[in-house]
């Protein structure tokens, strides 16, 4: 590993064997995913383990929707982080802002993708758009489409605007693909517009923050407005979702920044100070998540809870779903406590491992949130079961692989921070 400590644009150019290997693995995963998707489209959703709630003793939504919620949460979290850094003009965190900007877009895309995958007739997805004007008033899925589209438009605008600013401010020699990107985003730009661009970036940052803290709750409310399933309905759903999203967003950035720093040793753009900040955010949002979770779960496990809610709470806390539930809690609680006690002292690598645990913990809880209520019908029918099929696992993990693939490809196209001149290695 090189001893460089300054950020260079070298990640755009260098193609290491490790990178090629990763690319091959991710491409293979993508092909496998496509194969699974083809199978699912041909056979129908029968290729999954999802089944009707009630007489088919199943859960009618499963991994795809759970993972959608997880991706959508990360998208909102990353959106908020980008907005926060840009609005407060925290130059020290500019690489984190760029990374979170890229991730917000990719996560939004992945969330949208999983919704399409989940449809029984995915080719009809465009019907959502054609009937949008009449359904947007009442259909949570139509709100969701609106929100995810807005999120992607906003993050893309921020990406273009901030890149334009970086390119206008300095002009090191760039590899061809980035040069093309530069040409596109700097059409008509002159150095004179720098102050104006800085202002725009700042206020767009505020826009992203506002979006995250308002419409950002919509994917959670996707369920919160459904009264038919005990355990779904509730005005706190949006907040539970947002808390999970902020936590996973920060965890994703901790992980990405940690890996990039250990690969490239960028000790200026990803300084110890930056990791302290990310660690603090992880601790804070870890606690917020746990408190919100506690508030969400506690009322349903008391004996006074309405019967149907109580039954789900019981299954989660002491019953059939308890192992998964407690695992999901521990995966978040342990790292959060360790971070609170040891702070930054355990180092970047450990912090990255915490981030992985947290991402997994929230992912598990996202699955439970979707599936739990569906396993317990309102009418006297038997409890459902759900164990995802290979096709579902391949498509779900494949969605994560595709997101990572998009990210590593973006690393070859998009400068991660502003540089006036090229640093030689």
């Amino acid at each position: 590993m090189s001893q460089r400590t300054d950020y260079s644009l070298n990640h755009l150019r260098s193609v290491s064997t490790g990178y090629v290997a990763l690319l091959i693995v991710l491409l293979a995963a993508t092909l496998l995913t496509l194969e699974a998707i083809i199978q699912q489209v041909q056979d129908g959703l029968v290729a999954t383990d999802m089944a009707q709630q009630g007489t088919q003793a199943g859960a009618t939504w499963g991994l795809y929707i759970g993972t959608f919620e997880w991706f959508a949460g990360m998208a909102v979290g990353a959106l908020a982080i980008t907005g926060y850094i840009r609005f407060n003009q925290l130059e020290q965190y500019q690489m984190v802002a760029r990374l979170s900007n890229i991730w917000a877009f990719i996560c939004g895309l992945s969330a949208a993708w999983l919704i399409i995958i989940d449809l029984g007739t995915p080719h009809r997805v465009l019907v959502i758009l054609t009937s949008w004007h009449e359904t947007v008033l009442h259909s949570p899925l139509a709100w969701d489409v609106t929100f995810v589209t807005t999120l992607m438009v906003f993050t893309l605008t921020m990406l273009v605007l901030s890149l334009r600013l970086d390119f206008v401010k300095g002009n090191p020699s760039l590899p061809i693909q980035t040069r093309i990107l530069e040409r596109i985003v700097t059409i008509g730009a002159t150095p004179k517009e720098v102050p104006k661009l800085e202002e725009m970036r700042r206020w767009l940052g505020l826009g992203l923050l506002v979006l995250a803290f308002t419409a950002g709750m919509i994917p959670g409310l996707l369920m919160g407005v459904v009264g038919g399933q005990p355990g779904y309905f509730g005005s706190e759903r949006g907040i539970v979702f947002l808390a999970a999203g902020l936590l996973t967003g920060v965890a994703l950035l901790n992980l990405t920044a940690g890996v990039l720093r250990s690969l490239f040793s960028w000790r200026d753009a990803l300084s110890n100070e930056v990791f302290r900040g990310l660690g603090r955010a992880l601790t804070l949002f870890g606690f917020v998540y746990l408190i919100v979770l506690f508030n969400d779960v506690l009322p349903v496990v008391t004996d006074m809870a309405p019967f149907f809610e109580g039954r789900i709470g019981e299954a989660m806390v002491t019953g059939s779903l308890a192992p998964l539930f407690w695992l999901s809690v521990l995966l978040v609680a342990v790292p959060t406590l360790l971070l609170a006690v040891f702070k930054y002292r355990l180092g970047v690598t450990v912090q990255s491992i915490y981030a992985v645990a947290i991402l997994l913990g929230v992912w598990i809880k996202a699955q439970l949130t979707v599936v739990e209520p569906l396993l317990f019908p309102n009418l006297p029918a038997i409890e459902g079961t759900y164990s995802p099929t290979v096709v579902e696992w391949v498509i779900t993990l494949g969605a994560m692989a595709i997101a990572l693939l998009l990210f590593v490809l973006a690393l070859k196209l998009i400068p991660l921070a502003h540089r006036d001149t090229e640093v030689s290695s």
């Binding site: 056979d43 129908g44 959703l45 029968v46 383990d49 999802m50 089944a51 009707q52 709630q53 009630g54 007489t55 088919q56 003793a57 199943g58 009618t60 939504w61 919704i115 989940d118 449809l119 029984g120 007739t121 995915p122 009809r124 997805v125 019907v127 959502i128 009937s131 009449e134 359904t135 009442h138 259909s139 949570p140 899925l141 139509a142 489409v145 369920m223 459904v226 009264g227 038919g228 399933q229 779904y232 019967f307 149907f308 569906l374 019908p377 309102n378 009418l379 006297p380 029918a381 038997i382 409890e383 079961t385 164990s387 099929t389």
Partner: protein, 443 residues
């Protein structure tokens, strides 16, 4: 419109005679009923307050019925559009509703006079179900002559059900569904650990008047037909997102997970036949040996002028009858192909009703006092209770049950579908699914 309608209220001669007709069939005071009906309109029009209304009739009601259980302060006219308390089987009869509250067990006909009064009030001003009972008057601003609104619905008498599953089978055959799509189902359950008594719940789609499934649908594929209240899925636009299933508290929606092996030729008893009485113009085969309605090809005289439809399209051209396509949501359609057939002997019937050997299912127009469900509800013993399923969900179901509603912790027991049946269905397309067991099996 003639008569006194200066403020949008309608009490002309026709109203009078209609009121008299309706009220003459019950044992109680016709005049009181008429007065109540008039003032129900005034209340709805905001001319008098609920308290005034209550005070004005409290004494009369007590005199006549011996009881009035209303709370003095009740909901606003908007809120009483659907009053669960006055609905049959509602737990606190009349409490808080605009109409005098009297318990239904013990005296069925005294409720009839109140229901009728409510209908008379509601019909003219278009309030949906002021009486809150069997009457769910559909459309707004209807003339009083048009009391004959159409709202298909059912009265299902659980006390008659013997769980023979004829209805379940007839439904699947009529609609050519795969055996795991149980548009009609019979739940079997026990209420608590101390009794062995098994009870049944016959469960089609409730065709709710305030159906959450339609609100949840992102493509407006799930919709309620205005003219008759049937809740349908447009198979051509449904994207298979299953949101309707998530939003419905009754578990009546069935996605067509797999491609049915042979894509349903939709056999329907109303298919126009050719001269041999067997095949319609579209080549769809009619199998008159199927259970369901008995068809004798000799008897069916097809008038070429007569409009008879029979494919998977409804009369409005919506693809919504019979089995859904691959990846598309299906559920009970109230045999919409029959309702739209234009054939007298089929309109107002369903496959499940036809085959029920104990006459537990009564399908018909809930707006029409002469209809099978309304007649059945009028005929039941006075001490029999009635309910609408999970009424507190506010879905306004159009199935009225006679019997006891299963409690929240009712335990399902094996059958009428055996575990074997159930697991066969579960493994029909998914050989790897975990087999399931009824809770009682575990114990």
């Amino acid at each position: 419109m003639t008569g006194n309608n200066t403020s949008g209220l309608y009490f002309d001669e026709e109203w009078e005679s209609d009121a008299e007709d309706r009220l003459s069939v019950v044992d109680y005071d016709t005049e009181l009923g008429k007065k109540l009906g008039r003032d129900a309109q005034r209340l709805a029009a905001g001319e008098i307050s609920q308290t005034e209304f209550h005070e004005k009739y409290h004494e009369d009601v007590v005199d006549e019925f011996g009881v009035d259980e209303r709370a003095t302060i009740g909901p606003t006219p908007e809120e009483f559009g659907y009053d669960t308390d006055t609905a049959p089987g509602g737990d606190g009869d009349g409490g808080g509703g605009p109409l005098p509250g009297v318990p239904d067990d013990g005296d069925h006909s005294r409720r009839s006079v109140l229901k009728t009064a409510g209908v008379l009030g509601a019909a003219a001003v278009g309030l949906n179900g002021v009486a809150g009972a069997a009457e769910t008057l559909a459309d707004e601003n209807e003339d009083e002559e048009e009391v004959e609104d159409l709202q298909w619905g059912m009265a299902i008498n659980q006390n008659n059900c013997i769980a023979c599953l004829n209805c379940v089978e007839a439904c699947n055959e009529e609609n050519n569904n795969t055996p795991d799509a149980l548009w009609m189902f019979v739940h079997r359950y026990v209420e608590d650990d101390y009794t062995e008594d098994e009870e049944y719940l016959t469960r089609p789609c409730q065709h709710c008047s305030d159906a959450p499934c339609t609100a949840a649908c992102p493509v407006a594929s799930r919709h309620t037909r205005e003219e008759d209240g049937i809740v349908l899925t447009d198979y051509e636009t449904c994207i298979g997102c299953r949101y309707c299933e998530i939003a419905c508290p009754y578990g009546v929606n069935y996605l067509q997970w797999a491609t049915p092996e042979e894509k349903a030729e939709f056999k329907s008893s109303g298919i126009p036949l050719d001269e041999n009485g067997e095949v319609d113009e579209d080549g769809i085969r009619l199998d008159s040996d199927e259970p369901g309605i008995e068809l004798d090809s000799e008897e069916i005289e097809l008038d070429s002028e007569q409009e008879v439809r029979f494919d998977t399209k409804t009369k409005d051209g919506v693809e919504a009858a019979g089995p859904p396509d691959h990846g598309v949501m299906g559920k009970c359609t109230f045999c919409v192909h029959r309702q739209d057939s234009g054939r007298e002997e089929l309109v107002g019937t369903t496959a499940c009703e036809d085959v029920c050997p104990t006459d537990a299912i009564h399908f018909g127009n809930l707006e029409d006092p002469e209809s099978a469900p309304r007649q059945h509800l009028d005929d039941i013993e006075e001490n029999e209770s009635t309910f609408r399923l999970l009424e507190d969900h506010g879905t306004e179901p159009n199935i009225i049950y006679v019997g006891n509603e299963p409690s929240a912790d009712a335990t399902p027991v094996e059958g009428p579908r055996t575990l074997e049946d159930m697991n066969r269905d579960l493994h029909l397309h998914r050989t790897d699914r975990e087999p399931v067991a009824y809770p009682s099996e575990d114990e």
